[in-house]
Symmetry: C2
Subunit: 548 residues, 2 copies
């Protein structure tokens, strides 16, 4: 035997281990790198109508390191929760990185919730410190009647004797170095609560690892397509599922960050898109409905070429895609929820789809798309048995992957969110096409069962939205002695437009068999919404369903 | 105290853990997902001039799962090393996924090495099985004189009685399911050896985690910009640092894969780019030099719009960027080595650079760029003390991150590759600009010290490359009794062009102080290359340096 063969045989019997470094994924490394190599990139914040503030990534990095130093000196221990009650602006972005930089956990609070709901969430998370925008202090004072975090930091002027001013705090502390060295990337870095349309809100805890892997998945060309040339405009609230992770993904990619502050109008949105040459804006369909009304008004804007709108939180209607297409704006959607960080899928089309007719292509674009890398989807029956990807079998959408939750915060025990074999139960009903595209057809609780047959409220809402004067539509189930349930439609007209219940009924009669057409159609100025701006079907069912 | 406050205080004292699933990163999940959602995407292989074969991702997925089943039945245990001695084609791509799917480790062998070098590497890795392309069997028979892996699988027809035919093997085995369930993502998945220009080649072991994190980094818009609409053409050998990870990144992004097979000519490269509508091609500068000669010949091609060439392995000269710009082709470079998987940086420009004059912009594009996310660079002096990012301080480039090696395979002990504080010592000398762009100025061993002053061989090679008739240039140090070392230039002319030593000397005299101009210039038809196609300066120094 040759020397080489003797060595080969000997080494073949020896296990091999990786020679790669142990290098944990750490959220703070995003801004550490951005501060160094994208130092002059900009963060533009609208603070009020016409009032803007700009800071550079270098300035944001320094401020975040000052905040870390300040929180540590306030006694914030690693693992402690620091809550924010803030709008979308640069100071909130600084908190996104400064809180983790001192080892604490970012807990964003939704100012659209009631004081009592906020107190419940703060108590459940066990928040140690809270950072509040000046104009949210009236709300905060009501929350404070219930809970007393150790410190209240106010971004702006405060009327409270014990409050700490953000500006003073940062001025009084030297920036610390970014944390480096050995580290467990599964350490918690952020907590978000589900919007709680059923039952109490439930907390989901993201890790450094989960946030970063999702960010990698979303900067990809077929997802958000973020580069150092992108200008991001995040209308999605930073208090809601970390604004879809954009504050992390954008800084990883070196993209410019534009933030709308509080209560921005559709006209202002288009003003900002034009002025800042936005390449991608993130928001819910309600926002885009307003933008469409502005676009179709007699005003006009010098919009950037290749503008892309990312829509999430609810399904945009096929009609919305057609309208934006006419304006030369590309609308893209996907699917996700608080439990999936939230971006689990994006709806990009493949070259093969270019040959589809427009109707089929729009239908596909309005679907919930394909899973990001390392995300798995399945549809399952009531026993969690997988169903076929045939485009017709309907089952609960179930999901797994590195940025999907397995349970919720619970005291003393976590609350399970998964099937016995480890898949998240989303509560959405979907079909999966043979090519893997997911199409949500309903929420489990939103399906309407009339005379033993299912009616999809989502399908019917999309059909109603084809009517020119419709702004929003909701279809709910109302109890019926004869049929079990019957569909009812609630519709709001676009601003200044006329819409009657008869128009809606006639339109539906032309598209549906007689038994599926709602017996009752209500036209309302506005449809009820949840704290996160979604249609509040729970409230609608309570208001109209029980009154029958 | 309110109930909420009591609960807040209680929970604040309780540590929070992440609720995210434990979901390991696993290379085989790339093809598992691609097989499902990009089933019809194509892998086109050139097997010989004019001979092409196409398979779909679905077919590749099935074949990989058959291979996994076959290897297991051959007794290949989890962790065993399976070597490939193959060109770039679909069968090799199937092996890239089929070997990990049975839990084994992919070890790609470089057919440009000598039989003795290959035997050394196979012995060092302890390879259990080898898969060989039919046309590489003559080389393999010479290797077999030294080492005897348990099984030899031949892709094609074999003359060996004990060899196993790839086609038979796959036909005889049913596809297994992709591995799922609990798993350590730090498990080895691939081994590559350094090219060993100094000393013996040394093995680097990649993990599932390291391969995937690099793939995420490279599909990003500012890196390779890979999407389901990309058509990748991988001229970089699949036997060399996993072809820069493209076989993993492309399938993650759903990009079409085009592979050139053995010994492809520049004309064929342009034929394939035109026919397949390639969007991005990967290769070393030597390849692009040939492509330039073809482009500037009297032939013409219908090239796709927005064609991008990724150049690595050695620095393309600024002149090469100018030439491709003239042809409407975007050349991009970066930096990496076997020890960094290899892509550590990419040279994208920022919007601010659009205002630069062309000379400065090309110079920046020819630099080694910015680190990918979670990769850290520094330059350090001989004591590994960090030096300033001022664009002038020169030190060894050092690197760390999740896809950077900390050591090499060694028996019985690994061979360290890092500084005491954990940074990879690259052996490259670099400056870092204040904005973070890295510029390699030399290899530590390639610097020329003449009369106590440093001369950069890389700078001088780029200056020589500005001469129209120059194909390649190398500047090496030769011993000199008076000055210690003196530079010597070795230059090859472009095909059919005339070039004299005097032209080179005159050109250098116009650009350099007299003491820096080489005393000796040799014009050769071809410059000596290593097995991986790089300029072999070690051999040049041995041939010319010692002969002085």
């Amino acid at each position: 035997m040759s020397d080489f063969e003797a060595q080969r045989a000997r080494n073949a019997a020896t296990p091999t281990v990786t020679t790669m470094m142990e290098a944990p994924l750490r959220v703070t490394d995003i801004l550490r790198r951005a501060e160094a190599i994208f130092a002059d990139q900009r963060i533009v914040s609208r603070l009020a109508p016409g009032v803007f503030e700009t800071m550079s990534f270098a300035e944001a990095g320094r401020a975040a390191r000052c905040l870390a130093s300040a929180l540590t000196s306030l006694g914030v221990a690693p693992g402690a929760r620091v809550a924010t009650l803030m709008w979308n602006h640069g100071t909130h972005l600084v908190a996104y990185y400064g809180i983790p930089a001192c080892g604490a956990v970012l807990h964003t609070l939704n100012p659209r919730l009631s004081p009592e709901e906020l107190a419940y969430i703060i108590a459940d998370a066990g928040d140690d410190v809270v950072i509040v925008d000046e104009d949210l202090l009236p709300l905060w004072r009501e929350v404070e009647a219930h809970v007393s975090p150790r410190h209240v930091i106010v971004n702006g002027k405060s009327d409270g004797a014990d409050d700490i001013a953000w500006a003073d705090l940062l001025e009084q502390h030297e920036p610390v170095d970014w944390p480096q060295g050995p580290f467990d990337e599964n350490t918690p870095v952020a907590i978000c609560y589900t919007s709680g349309t059923t039952g109490r809100p439930k907390g989901v805890v993201y890790s450094h690892r989960s946030i970063i892997l999702q960010a990698f998945g979303t900067i990809a060309p077929d997802s958000f397509n973020l580069s150092a040339r992108s200008v991001t405009f995040t209308l999605t609230p930073m208090f809601h599922v970390n604004a879809w992770g954009v504050p992390f993904a954008a800084l990883m990619a070196g993209s410019a960050v534009v933030l709308p502050g509080p209560r921005v109008s559709a006209d202002e949105i288009l003003d900002i898109i034009s002025a800042e040459r936005v390449s991608i804006a993130f928001g819910v369909p309600t926002i885009w409905t307003g933008v469409i009304e502005a676009l179709e008004s007699d005003k006009s804007w010098d919009l950037p070429e290749n503008l892309m709108l990312m829509s999430g939180g609810a399904a945009p209607s096929p009609e919305m895609f057609r309208i934006f297409d006419r304006h030369g704006i590309y609308l893209q959607t996907g699917w996700g929820m608080t439990e999936t960080s939230p971006i689990a899928s994006q709806t990009w089309l493949l070259p093969a789809h270019d040959k589809m007719d427009e109707h089929a292509r729009i239908k596909l674009r309005a679907s919930n798309g394909l899973p990001l890398p390392f995300i798995d989807f399945r549809i399952a029956d009531e026993d969690s048995q997988p169903l076929a990807w045939d485009g017709t079998s309907r089952g609960e959408l179930q999901c797994r992957g590195p940025w999907v939750t397995q349970d919720y915060i619970g005291h003393p025990h976590p609350i399970p969110a998964t099937t016995p074999d480890g898949w998240l139960k989303t509560g959405d009903v979907a079909v999966i096409r043979p090519d893997g595209y997911v199409q949500l057809v309903d929420r489990l609780k939103d399906l309407i069962k009339s005379g033993g047959e299912w009616i999809s409220s989502v399908d019917m809402e999309n059909v109603i939205a084809e009517l020119a004067n419709v702004a929003e539509a909701a279809v709910i189930a109302i109890p019926d002695d004869k049929w079990g349930e019957r569909p009812m439609a609630l519709v709001s007209p676009r601003a200044g437009a006329t819409l009657t219940a008869e128009q809606v009924t006639l339109h539906l009669q032309a598209r549906y068999p007689k038994w599926m057409v709602p017996d009752r159609v209500e036209v309302l100025d506005d449809l009820p919404k949840t704290g996160t701006g979604k249609l509040n079907k729970l409230l609608m069912r309570q208001t109209w369903g029980l009154a029958t």
